[in-house]
Amino acid sequence: MNRIAIEFIKVSKKFPASKQYAVKDISASIEEGSFTTILGTSGSGKTTFLKMINRIHELSSGEILFFGENIKKLPVEKHRQKIGYVIQQVGLFPHMTVEENIATVPNILKWNKKDINLRVDSLLDLMKISSKDYKKRYPRQLSGGQQQRVGIARAMAADPEIMLMDEPFGALDAITRLNLQEEILKIQKKLNKTIIFVTHDVNEAFKLGDKVIIMDKGSVQQFDTPRNILFHPANEFVKQLVSSEDILQKLKFVRASDVMIPFGMSERDGDIRVNENVDLKTLLTYFLMGDVDYLIVEKANHEVVGMVTLKELKIQEVNSGG
């Protein structure tokens, strides 16, 4: 069990100009090292949820704990310096070079020049931007995708304990978005950063999140793994939301070991073996491309544990089995 990075205890938020609560009575815990996505429509309270964590919005009641300590305990600037913050509009400082932008928080924290330089280079490298060519450039000379890469690098500069991302890829074209999704996933796994990521894109939420928080009308509708949300929606709202997802999407969240049946035959030449953790969408491609009736499921140590036929891929089977 990991430490709890962020804990919401009965948190509510009401904006002065509004009659309704933006966020109402939320309790939730986010584990250290997890990638949590917050999914909801506009007005669902998802952005308010996120922005209360770094106190861009101050909560009205309840409390939020940051690694066990109330976020109000530290001076607000100190608190924010520990948190990486990425927004949709990027918000790079147009009068500063890429290098100066990334060095923002290290400069506030008064790191020495050499450390800052090294850090900038390694972050640009991580975000796949050539440090030599781009360090001295200004934001206006970068494409939208490159700008957001720099935005992410800037947010990670002082190695924050958690990263808050507010629809960071929302303004990018589809291809750039896919690339950046892959990269942020890789980076998250590699550095084991705690990321909280707001999106209104169901696909993005399920693709990136280890866990997904589904929000509507200011409260959490379901907070679970993508798989459990897809196959055991907590209520009508969630059901509606995920039913728009196509079946192939759902197959991605089920593993071979979840649906396999015992393998009673003897293995023949040309049989295909798959790992038990492979998802069903991948299995389906085997059936579609090759002349096979069944696939043999094995563990990492090649021990055969079962088999899957086309019948097991049917979604109702998955539903009952999942």
Binding site: K78, Y85, I87, Q89, L92, F93, I108, Y138
Partner: protein, 212 residues
């Protein structure tokens, strides 16, 4: 014309320097007050409306009349002149400075706050450099206006180029009238030129087109 110059160049220079001094002091004080006022009114729409319309009303009072009203209260001299000039500048500068800060993309401010800048750092490192081009535009207009109104300030004994100009008018002596006009217009044009250049530099810097 030239004869007048050769005979009086030292007193003309002194008056020119007094004029520049009055203008510079007025602009400096105006900027301090206007910046503070702008920051204040950025917080509230209603306050902004009240302050700007009040300043607008004051701006519409003819300068000669304003000088006349203030003489019984503040007396004659430079001090009164500077006071009036500062008041006139507020309308131009407050409008410009508050517009300059409003023109900054809110996402840039949000990013700055989110990264943990305190309000002073945010102001000095982000808001001011980005607002500077528009602010300098306001300073330019204010300077040119101040240079011209400052000539009128000579009627309340503040000195400056107005002394030459109004002496000439009173005596109906053409060289004085011309020199007074040429010098104050030249001063305004020079100030305008310099500030246009600074404005350009600031705007290049703010949009990331050069290092300054």
């Amino acid at each position: 014309m030239v004869k007048y110059l050769l005979k009086n160049y030292d007193s003309m220079l002194t008056l020119m320097l007094t004029h520049i001094q009055i203008v510079m002091i007025s602009i400096a004080i105006s900027l301090l007050i206007a910046t503070a006022l702008s920051i204040l009114i950025l917080r509230s729409k209603i306050l902004s409306m009240i302050v700007l319309s009040t300043l607008g009303v004051i701006y519409s009072i003819p300068s000669l009349a304003l000088f006349a009203i203030l003489i019984p209260i503040l007396g004659l001299g430079k001090g009164t002149a500077i006071f009036v000039l500062v008041i006139y500048n507020q309308y131009i500068l407050v409008r410009n400075i508050s517009a300059a800060f409003r023109s900054i993309d809110p996402s840039i401010i949000e990013a700055g706050i989110g990264m943990g800048f305190n309000s002073f750092e945010l102001f000095s490192k982000i808001q001011l450099p980005l607002a500077l081009p528009i602010i300098l535009g306001g300073v330019r207009i204010a300077s040119v206006t101040t240079i011209s109104i400052a000539t009128i300030a000579s009627v309340i004994n503040a000195g400056g180029l107005g002394v030459i100009l109004f002496d000439g008018l009173r005596m109906n002596y053409l060289p004085k009238i011309l020199w007074g006009t040429i010098m104050s217009a030249g001063l305004a044009l020079t100030a305008n030129k310099i500030l246009v250049y600074l404005e350009k530099l600031a705007s290049f810097k703010a949009s990331g087109q050069c290092k300054v």
